[in-house]
């Protein structure tokens, strides 16, 4: 069936999966290798089945901190098909971006992974011309990434932030870590990891998590039953959902709400996982009005069904579960290190003595921020501290 017809019937296939997630951040901004997180995620091997794993690492490209790092994946049945996709992509990039530097992403070929695609990274700056000059850089990049992912066959941008990168593929996450040599080549201040258990066997590299747009990445354990609704709402705002995963819509929703609409994270959490009406009806007038307005306006972005996510940003890491808390999430601190994980045991494995361990309540975000983190209007945050927000008004 041709593509046009598919889109008309919206014959999207959504992949269903369960997963392990893990995140670690050094709130002082000190960088560390991926070795620890690889060990932690490996301990949750039973939560995955080897059909997907991935990492998002922040602070790994200090030499190119001002350039957008695009990680590209060229899939396709044969090598020539991948090369052709690469050529098409590079022609596209040449039209829209200034490419400062590009290279193949180094991999350790002694690690066995199934059917690896051609992986390449480009360090670019947007070249906005004509009417596009009015757009912000971020808008421009999002639009062009959407164009690549939906129009250029076999080419997928799977990482596009500054001074950060996603690494993912079809294998157990610790194998992916070894394949990309994360324990040797990269040092980051924030790491999020994902081990995947899809129920279908046709796993593909693009479908692995984390999913990222600009510097926002999402690792996600769950199944969003509201996928269709979320998707149509996001499509109205120009997001092309091409990767067929729940995680993608969460990432786009986070992008829409946090980056484009500049809503603070507690508000975004209340949009993705709002309190129930019975609770809202008991709130005081002002809070009730706010919650009602949020649910009224952003009803289609309510993420329904079980999920636990870790949203990563430069300098910030957010953990969130669905509103009736159907998937596990544990947070912990040890000194300046902040952990979020599916299981407490995995944190204890790499850091046996913790200062504090707790289980956040359903729908209430846990937020870790780096010292000196400033973004948008959120200066009022208490710097470098973790909070579990009971109420936000």
């Amino acid at each position: 069936m041709d593509r046009k017809r598919r889109s008309r019937r919206e014959l999207y296939t959504k992949e269903i999966c369960a997963c392990s997630i893990f995140g670690a951040m050094n709130r002082e901004g000190d960088r560390f290798t991926g070795e620890g997180v690889m060990k932690a995620i490996a301990s949750m091997r039973v939560r995955g089945n080897g059909l997907g794993g991935g990492f998002a690492a922040y602070g790994i490209y200090p030499d190119h901190r001002d350039l957008y790092a695009f990680h590209l994946m060229f899939t396709g049945p044969t090598d020539p098909a991948r090369r052709a996709a690469k050529q098409e992509l590079e022609a596209f990039l040449a039209r829209k971006f200034d490419v400062y530097f590009d290279e193949e992403i180094p991999t350790d070929d002694s690690v066995f992974v199934r059917d690896p695609p051609l992986l390449w990274r480009y360090f670019v700056l947007p070249r906005k011309e004509g009417e596009d000059a009015e757009m912000t850089e971020e808008e421009y990049i999002v639009r062009e990434i959407m164009a690549v992912n939906s129009k250029i066959e076999n080419a997928y941008v799977f990482s596009s932030g500054k001074n950060m990168g996603c690494f993912k593929g079809v294998a157990y996450p610790e194998e992916i870590g070894e394949y990309f040599m994360l324990d040797r080549l990269y040092r980051g201040h924030t790491w999020t990891v994902h081990g995947r258990f899809p129920t279908n066997t046709q796993a593909w590299w693009g479908g692995a998590h984390p999913f990222g747009l600009l510097d926002t990445t999402v690792v996600h354990n769950g199944e969003v039953s509201s996928y269709g609704t979320n998707r149509w709402y996001l499509e109205m705002y120009g997001y092309a959902c091409t990767l067929q995963t729940d995680t993608e819509v969460i990432a786009y929703a986070a992008d829409l709400l946090m980056r484009r609409q500049k809503l603070p994270i507690e508000i975004v959490a209340k949009i993705l996982a709002p309190p129930i009406w019975a609770a809202i009806d008991r709130m005081d007038e002002k809070e009730k009005r706010l919650m009602t307005a949020l649910r009224m306006t952003y009803g289609p972005l309510l993420m329904n069904g079980p999920f636990a996510v870790i949203i990563g940003e430069t300098g910030r890491m957010i953990g969130l579960t669905d509103r009736i808390r159907l998937r596990p999430l544990t947070a912990a601190t040890r000194g300046e290190i902040f952990y979020i994980s599916s299981e407490e045991a995995s944190i204890r494995l790499i850091s046996p003595h913790l200062d504090r361990v707790w289980t956040p309540r359903g729908g209430e975000p846990v937020i870790a921020e780096m010292k000196g983190y400033e973004k948008g209007s959120e200066e009022s945050y208490e710097k470098g501290s973790e909070k579990s927000y009971e109420r936000i008004c």
Partner: protein, 504 residues
């Protein structure tokens, strides 16, 4: 002139059981049954029977059976009995054939070809008896985004919100005017709507003055081409105003309430002389284009101080999605679409059975159109026409409707048996009549109880189905075609509905 038409029904009375109580005689306003005092038995005239089954239900001895008459013309695939009899009736009367209720023609009912999803393993289903399950819905324009300012922990919404209707369950009562239906039926709808946290629509007959105080808070008032019963108070006492452009049962034509049904109370409410025909013209004579509609929408918003959402009701016809998109751009906060099987109190049979498109396809294409244009959140969609059960409702919502209007279903809850004789004004069930003797049969307290029971039953079923899908808020199902699959549908139908085939 002698009628050459067979009686439609055959009345069979079990003489052994019949106790000559004459209940049937008193129940039938059409004079079908008569008591013969000499023989001390009841006799029936099949010709007068409309098949409303009132006598059958109320016969204490269960002695009566009314069934379709077995008489037949020579079987003919082209000339069905209905076609032959319609033709004969026209030969006898020389007039337009009128009928009531929604179309009964065997057009494909897509609801019956759509299946719902349920959770297994990867996604836990939710038990609605133990977990909250939310059906609350807002109808009206939503902002593109909320702008929020923060001062420490103080959060303020800077975006101005548009007025919205809040319904506790996505089921509203469709427009049925006082005049078309009896006062008691009208009041039953109003009472049930208020009790169930939903809304009733006044239709084009105005809102009787004494009902305004109590029932204004759950009323949607209609402004239609006849402009009956409209004053400033009427507009302001309600929670929303609906401009009726078209009706699913009779797209493109107006309405006609015969003078016999214009009783003193109807006359006062509609602001017309008693006993005169109330004729709603086919078009609004001040709307000849989309910009005229825009003017009327603005005028109504002015009249209601921008505090009420304005709805526009159109019939689903061939190119309606484009028109609806224009209507949204003209400022409508709610689009009500009435599909092919929408009901009516009186409509020419030829129009009812031949004009329009099915609601299911209409919802899907309207939702898609508004999404493609990026204006879906500027307007809510209320779908109407042929909703028979909670599963129809939930499928409509998954296809993209925000809520549904039920008309026939509500009438059936009150006792209607869809005998299609609404236009005669002799409704034995006291619903579609202004005869005080007949309308008195409909007890407001009992009928409203039946209606709120219906709403509560459907809401419970919707909660069950939602829970099965692992969804605990209705807004997460809206437009979520992922949860629908078609069976027995052609490729083009799946395309229009935007759903996959079962197993795909």
């Amino acid at each position: 002139m002698r009628s050459f038409v067979f009686p439609e029904f055959e009345i069979i009375r079990d003489e052994e059981r019949c106790g000559s109580c004459r209940g049937c005689e008193r129940q039938c306003a059409l004079g079908t049954h008569a008591y013969d005092p000499v023989a001390d038995r009841l006799v029936s005239d099949d010709r007068k029977c409309a098949g409303c089954q009132r006598c059958v239900i109320f016969c204490p001895q269960k002695a009566i059976v009314v069934r379709p008459s077995p008489s037949f013309y020579r079987p003919n695939a082209s000339w069905s009995r209905e076609k032959i009899e319609d033709l004969k009736r026209q030969a006898e009367t020389g007039g337009v054939l009128l009928t009531g209720c929604g179309s009964d023609k065997p057009f494909r009912i897509y609801w019956d070809h759509i299946l719902l999803n349920a959770s297994q393993v990867t996604n836990p289903s939710i038990d609605p008896l133990r977990e909250p399950m939310e059906l609350r819905t807002f109808l009206g324009r939503k902002p593109e985004m909320l702008e929020i300012s923060r001062e420490g922990k103080e959060v303020e919404i800077k975006t101005e919100l548009y007025p919205n209707l809040t319904v506790e369950t996505p089921i509203l009562f469709s427009a049925m005017s006082f005049g078309a239906i009896s006062y008691n039926a009208f009041k039953s709808l109003a009472t049930a709507a208020c009790r169930s946290g939903t809304y009733f629509n006044t239709g084009e007959g105005g809102l009787p003055r004494e009902m305004r105080g109590e029932f204004g808070r759950c009323a949607i008032v209609q402004v239609a081409s006849g402009r009956f019963g409209i004053d400033a108070e009427y507009l302001n006492v309600a929670q929303a105003v609906e401009i009726k452009v078209g009706q699913g049962a009779k797209p493109g034509i107006g309405g006609h309430l015969p003078g016999e049904k214009v009783s003193a109370a109807v006359a006062e409410t509609r602001m017309i002389p008693q006993g005169t025909d109330a004729i709603s013209p086919a078009p609004h004579h001040d709307i000849y284009s989309i910009e005229d509609l825009s003017t009327l929408i603005t005028a109504l918003k002015e009249a209601t101080n921008y505090e009420k959402p304005i709805s526009v009701k159109i019939a689903a016809v061939h190119n309606f999605a484009a028109i609806a998109s224009g209507i949204v751009r003209a400022g409508a906060d709610i689009i009500a679409i009435d599909g092919l099987r929408g009901g009516t109190g009186a409509a020419p049979k030829a129009i009812r059975d031949n004009v329009g498109i099915p609601t299911e396809l209409a919802i899907s294409s309207l939702d898609r159109r508004l999404r493609e244009e990026g204006i879906r959140n500027r307007s809510s969609i209320i779908a109407a026409g042929g909703f028979r059960s909670s599963s129809d409702v939930i499928k409509a919502i998954a296809l993209g409707a925000d809520a549904v209007y039920i008309g026939s279903a509500a009438l059936i809850a009150m006792g209607c048996t869809l005998c299609q004789k609404c236009y005669t004004g002799n409704c034995n069930w006291g619903i579609c009549t202004q005869n005080p003797r007949l309308s008195g049969r409909l007890n407001v307290e009992i009928a409203s109880q039946r209606l709120s029971n219906l709403i509560s039953a459907w809401s419970h079923e919707i909660r069950e189905m939602l829970g099965g899908m692992g969804i605990n808020a209705l807004e997460s199902l809206r437009g979520n075609r992922d949860h629908l699959r078609g069976v027995g549908l052609y490729e083009w139908e799946l395309d229009v509905l935007g759903i996959k085939g079962a197993g795909e």
